[in-house]
Symmetry: C2
DNA sequence: CTGGTAGATTCACAGCTGTCGATGTGAAGC
DNA sequence: GCTTCACATCGACAGCTGTGAATCTACCAG
């Protein structure tokens, strides 16, 4: 039951604005996935730790985040699948750094209202 | 059972980095709440519609979003409580516009890794 | 090969969230 | 007053998500 917006004959109603320049559904889903990756406090601090360190090992995240090893691994996976960080295995350890490319669309959306 | 990071005697291990300049837990929670408000596709398109229109009535959101009236009301409430949009009641209708102030901290976090 | 360590995966569970029908509230208009 | 319309709130439900114990895999040192 979609409540369709009817074009009122320029009367006293408010509705009927054509709505221009909004996000497509697929773009919205893509961006929302990026924001969802940053929507958890632990994951935000993880991201912040990676950003501040430039490069950091998973074992150095476990302590500051005060979370179990599986949980930290879960969060790095989420951020990695969102394209916000990238991991590189060196020996027994995995080193993470930010992947700045995927941040651009997110930042652009926050800048839009200012334009 | 917090797995404490022990300071290794400068040996062959990777761990022990002091971790500087990361987010505090409260800051992370605050920012995460902001990102969480943008972490839903419908809400992102709602926000985009508001941003594109400058000012838009709730009744003009229901159509493009293709969601029921209670659902649209729920999403406007979430965005409003996150401080990303503000609503003003005029007569029977509520008009929404973006509240750009709260976007700054979010944008700053995305800019950080570039510095 | 054996043992130890870093990290990933599986599983289970509690809490949260998006959704809509039904209902409530408040503001025009008659 | 009563009716109608725009929006908010409530209640319920399915699906998602953060968490950690247990387990598995990959790597390195003897």
């Amino acid at each position: 039951m979609r409540t369709q917006v009817e074009q009122v004959p320029d009367g006293a109603d408010c509705c009927g604005t054509p709505v221009t320049g909004a996000l497509s559904e697929s773009d919205a889903a893509d961006l929302a996935a990026g924001f969802a990756a940053l929507a958890d406090p632990v994951r935000l601090r993880l991201f912040s730790l990676v950003a501040a360190a430039g490069e950091i090992c998973s074992c150095d995240l476990q302590g500051p985040l005060d979370r179990s090893q599986p949980t930290v691994s879960h969060h790095t996976k989420v951020l990695s699948e969102a394209g916000l960080i990238t991991g590189e295995r060196r020996g027994r350890w995995v080193y993470w750094r930010v992947a700045p490319d995927r941040l651009d669309p997110l930042r652009r959306l926050l800048d839009e209202p200012h334009a």
